[in-house]
């Protein structure tokens, strides 16, 4: 233990502790901007300056480790003066446009300006012109609001290993930019939006679709249906004043009805459907490989639900596109079915059906816009994608008291789901859902885990692996008898990269791999409420698994509406209709 003196009070902290954390232990909050719990320390904004006895210069609390006898003042006159200067300097460089900013009310710079009462701006306005890059369907970037903290750069590099965003130029021209300043829509960006979640200001925000959705809802000729992704129900509350981990499925359904959607459906339904299709695809690949020794069949199979991951693979590892499941993501399966099967069942003209999805994700906006995702005519299957944050904004605009809304149920047909569908929202969830079904298809018995909870695939570790021994197969799957099914789960694209490198080098070998672009899976998606950190993601994760436990049905193949869909429309998994509507292909980029 190291003895230090914090603001006059002696305290003991563990060796290696940074002053910022030590202060927190002492009940002192030191303001920060470039610091983020998920990222390495940069120490570049200089807001967290503290005075250390014996040192001429002030020190960045986020970066400075404590040392024996260190005497620290977090609120001396020198500290306050420097901090205020730093905030004023940032404001002089920032296009202060708070009222019109998407982050108004949830901006770290704004909070600091308020806290330090920066009333009269002494310094010269450096007059940054608005420079909006709206080339990406997912993310918009406005350099004039950037405070150069590099949180986005560290996110893109450390968590995602993409480096679509990087630092360019130096001095007054230094800025966060793409490779050669190309438009964000033309670079290797996966659209994951993790940078958006970590931007302290409004320099990086999602492309908003709120206006388009309102105008669809306002048009009486249109039949507007909405689908909600698994992870939204455990996070929407955060954006509307609840604590992280609040489950708000019923209130969200009610809110969506009140907003004017004609039907409120659930992406969990098509998550269940994905399991049927993807599970059978896996079994078919296993059969081709193990029984027929087909050389054209590739293993491991990668999941394809995460559009950030898919685009990452298209850019970085195009030689592995054959490994990707051909299944569309649940969002896109929903879109395709809404405009075909649902339209005919509901007897509405598909031309008049508008599909809106509520996603924890910014990459879903890009995915909906992909040319492959058009089953009926030239319009996209999913017309508009809203993030969790955008939905919350619409709810606020409508003036509902979210906390007081009654709980309602989803509409049937595309709204019935199982616990297997909801756990798609957490890393490992697709794998767990797939195993619950595939194991039972092959052996006729449920997965041998208590309460169907396959704990080895759960958790927050970056790369997890498990071996599921397959025993007692039904006759038609006898080729799997005694096979140890090797599976892996990864989340965060830096981890995905490491996993693929391991496979390429022959160090790792699996049959099936779940990959989610975002840390924690969709619950940590780039469209989720800001801020995010591990504690918040764990709360959301606990809520997802609680949601699963509360569901009467826990296995995708037991979803009665999915069964009905096969009976009346699709006929069989991987069949002709499925091929037409539920499967897709990928493009090397």
């Amino acid at each position: 233990m190291i003895r230090i003196i914090m603001n006059g009070s002696p305290m003991e902290v563990e060796e290696g502790t940074r002053v910022l954390a030590a202060a927190q232990d002492a009940g002192v909050r030191i303001p920060t901007l470039c610091y983020h719990k998920d990222l390495c320390v940069a120490g570049n904004c200089r807001v967290c300056l503290v005075e250390v006895e014996g040192q001429r210069a002030l020190q960045a609390a986020c970066a400075l480790p404590v040392s024996e006898g260190m005497t620290i003042r977090t609120n001396s006159a020198a500290v306050r003066a420097a901090r205020k200067h730093v905030i004023e300097l940032l404001l002089s460089e920032h296009r202060v446009d708070c009222l019109k900013c998407a982050r108004n009310g949830n901006c770290e710079l704004q909070n600091l300006a308020e806290e330090y009462r920066v009333e009269e701006r002494e310094f010269i306005d450096l007059g940054l012109e608005r420079s909006l890059d709206r080339s990406s369907p997912s993310i918009e970037k406005d350099d004039s609001k950037c405070i150069r903290c590099q949180r986005c750069v560290r996110t893109c590099t450390e968590l995602q290993r993409i480096s679509a965003l990087t630092v360019a130029h130096k001095g007054s021209k230094m800025r966060v930019d793409t490779f050669f300043g190309n438009p964000l829509g033309d670079v290797v960006c996966s659209n994951c939006g993790q940078c958006v979640s970590r931007c302290p200001t409004g320099a990086l925000v999602e492309r908003s679709s709120i206006d388009s959705v309102w105008s669809a809802l306002d048009n009486p000729k249109l039949h507007v249906v909405v689908q909600t992704a698994p992870a939204v129900r455990v996070s929407i509350g955060e954006e509307l004043g609840c604590e992280p981990g609040k489950r708000a499925t019923g209130q969200m359904v009610t809110a969506l009805r009140r907003l004017g959607f004609d039907k409120v459906f659930d992406t969990d339904f098509t998550a269940d459907l994905t399991i049927i299709e993807e599970g059978h695809e896996l079994l078919r690949r296993l059969k081709a490989k193990l029984l027929d020794h087909d050389e054209n069949t590739v293993l491991p199979m990668f999941t394809s639900c995460s559009p950030g991951w898919v685009k990452f693979l298209e850019h970085q590892f195009p030689e592995h596109l054959e490994n990707l499941s051909t299944c569309k993501s649940p969002q896109q399966m929903f879109g395709a079915l809404a405009k075909t099967w649902y339209a005919s069942q509901a007897q509405v003209d598909p031309e008049n059906v508008v599909v809106v999805s509520i996603m924890p994700c910014t990459a879903k906006k890009f995915e909906a816009d992909r040319p492959e995702m058009r089953s009926v005519g030239a319009r996209p299957d999913v017309d508009h994608v809203l993030t969790t944050r955008e939905l919350a904004r619409m709810i606020r605009q409508s003036g509902f008291d979210f906390g007081k809304l009654e709980e309602q149920a989803y509409d049937t047909l595309l709204g019935t789901s199982t616990g297997a569908g909801v756990i798609f929202g957490a890393t490992g969830g697709v794998m767990e859902a797939a195993l619950r079904t595939a194991y039972e298809v092959v052996t006729g018995r449920p997965v041998p885990f208590r309460n169907l909870e396959i704990l080895p695939v759960r958790g927050m570790e970056g790369i997890r692996e498990a071996v599921i021994p397959i025993e007692g197969c039904l006759p038609e799957w006898s080729f799997l008898e005694g096979v140890d099914l090797r599976i892996a789960i990864t989340h965060g694209l830096a981890n995905a990269w490491e996993l693929i490198e391991g496979i390429k080098a022959g160090r790792l070998s699996y049959h099936f791999i779940e990959v989610m672009a975002c840390p924690g899976g969709c619950l940590g998606g780039g469209g989720q409420p800001i801020p995010t950190d591990m504690e918040i993601r764990l709360e959301r994760m606990a809520a997802i698994y609680e949601e699963d436990r509360q569901m009467p049905l826990r296995k995708s193949h037991e979803n009665p509406d999915v069964q009905r869909l096969y009976e009346e429309f699709l006929k069989e998994p991987l069949g002709e209709k499925s091929h037409e509507l539920l499967h897709t292909h990928y493009t090397a980029r």
């Binding site: 120490g43 200089r46 210069a57 460089e93 150069r148 630092v167 130029h169 001095g171 230094m174």
Partner: protein, 394 residues
């Protein structure tokens, strides 16, 4: 004094030092060092009182001892030849004429610290030196082989950023990243290049190390003053009767310096380049050139009464506005504010009171910037704005 008399006096004063550009037998010097052993080498350098000649003035012996104490699989010696301070051009001549002594200094550091790998980080603009340096290194490697010294030197070129003279930015650049200074601690002697203990020494410092081993610590220590021992190579430029590179004792008064080099009309001397202090005529007498007074990495720029101090400050601020790496707020935005600020005052868009605001900002920059670059912008700003207030305002 006539120019001729100045030259005579200058010869005398230089004659007392004569270390950097003297020919020595490097093989013999290294043999001597090997017989001295690690501990004695460090002790000699420590007792010589040598402080880093790049400008910051950290005691060299202490730096070597800290690196020597580290247990690590690899250690590095880096020769900082990224001589970018405006008005400094002495390392260039040392590398032109005495590269073998630079290599010898690096090998001494390797002996003292246990490093086996040396790197010369050469300023991009000095790439014309590459061929001759490569030849010297080859020759030096043969010598090392004969002496059975396991040490190896390579050259790495910078890309033109001033900030890469800052040792941690230099290391970042060597690792292939943007030259941005790191947080300290950890210092390079603990975690430097690729995370291994690393000594970064200026070109001139390394040559003095060689000369201390050659002539003994006492020969060095008896030069200069108590706080500024030894000689120093100065780069003299500006409105000077005599310009060029001169090795003189540290600790002389600025008045005697100006007597030697000035044109008789010197109104100010910028001591230590753009990041140094500007001393006005009235303070020449009281200013000591050295660590106890006004330190310098070697740059001495003389200005006579024909010069506008506003333009000089403007020029420095333009330089910093461009050469700040841009990562930390006080330096990136502060430099722009100081520059735009004096322009606004000059144009009458801001009143005289605003200069006080800028002085406060400069003081904040000096205590809040992440590295020495941003911290030292206050030196020229405050010294010029205070000593030549009228020239800045009107």
């Amino acid at each position: 004094m006539t120019t001729k008399e100045k030259w005579t006096r200058l010869q005398q004063q230089q004659g007392r030092v004569r270390m950097i550009f003297e020919e020595v037998d490097c093989a013999a010097l290294l043999r001597k060092a090997i017989s001295l052993g690690q501990e004695s080498i460090i002790e000699w350098i420590e007792s010589s009182g040598l402080r880093g000649r790049g400008g910051a003035g950290f005691p060299t012996g202490r730096k070597w001892r800290l690196a020597a104490a580290q247990k690590a699989d690899r250690k590095f010696v880096i020769c900082n030849a990224d001589e970018g301070e405006p008005g400094t051009f002495k390392d260039r001549r040392i590398l032109e004429e005495q590269a073998i002594k630079v290599c010898t200094g690096m090998a001494l550091c390797a002996l003292a610290t246990g490093a086996r790998e040396g790197i010369i980080y050469l300023r991009a603009e000095y790439s014309y030196l590459l061929t001759s340096l490569e030849e010297t290194i080859q020759e030096f490697h043969l010598l090392l082989k004969k002496l059975d010294l396991p040490f190896d030197i390579v050259i790495r070129s910078g890309s033109g950023a001033y900030v890469c003279g800052e040792e941690t930015a230099l290391i970042e650049s060597l690792e292939g990243r943007r030259g941005e200074p790191r947080n300290k601690p950890p210092f390079p002697v603990e975690k430097g290049l690729h995370g291994f203990p690393t000594v970064v020494n200026n070109v001139e410092t390394l040559v003095y190390c060689a000369m201390i081993i050659e002539r003994g610590a006492e020969a060095f220590r008896r030069l200069g003053t108590k706080d500024s021992q030894g000689g120093k190579v100065f780069s003299v430029s500006g409105d000077a009767d005599i310009e060029g590179i001169f090795e003189l004792e540290l600790g002389m008064s600025l008045a005697s310096f100006v007597d030697l080099f000035g044109d008789g009309d010197t109104k100010a001397v910028q001591v230590g380049g753009s990041s140094g202090h500007c001393v006005p005529r009235k303070k020449f007498d009281e200013t000591v050139i050295g660590f106890e007074g006004t330190p310098t990495g070697g740059s001495m720029m003389l200005f006579n009464s024909s010069r506008s101090m506003y333009h000089i400050l403007h020029n420095y601020l333009e330089f910093f506005e461009e050469e700040s790496c841009g990562q930390c707020t006080p330096c990136r935005v502060g430099c722009q504010q100081l520059l735009r600020g004096i322009e606004a005052i000059k144009k009458g868009e801001k009143d005289a009171h605003y200069l006080q605001e800028l002085l406060r900002l400069a003081r904040t920059m000096s205590v809040s910037s992440k590295c020495g670059l941003g911290q030292s912008v206050a030196n020229p700003f405050i010294s010029i704005a205070q000593n030549f207030r009228e020239e800045i305002l009107y």
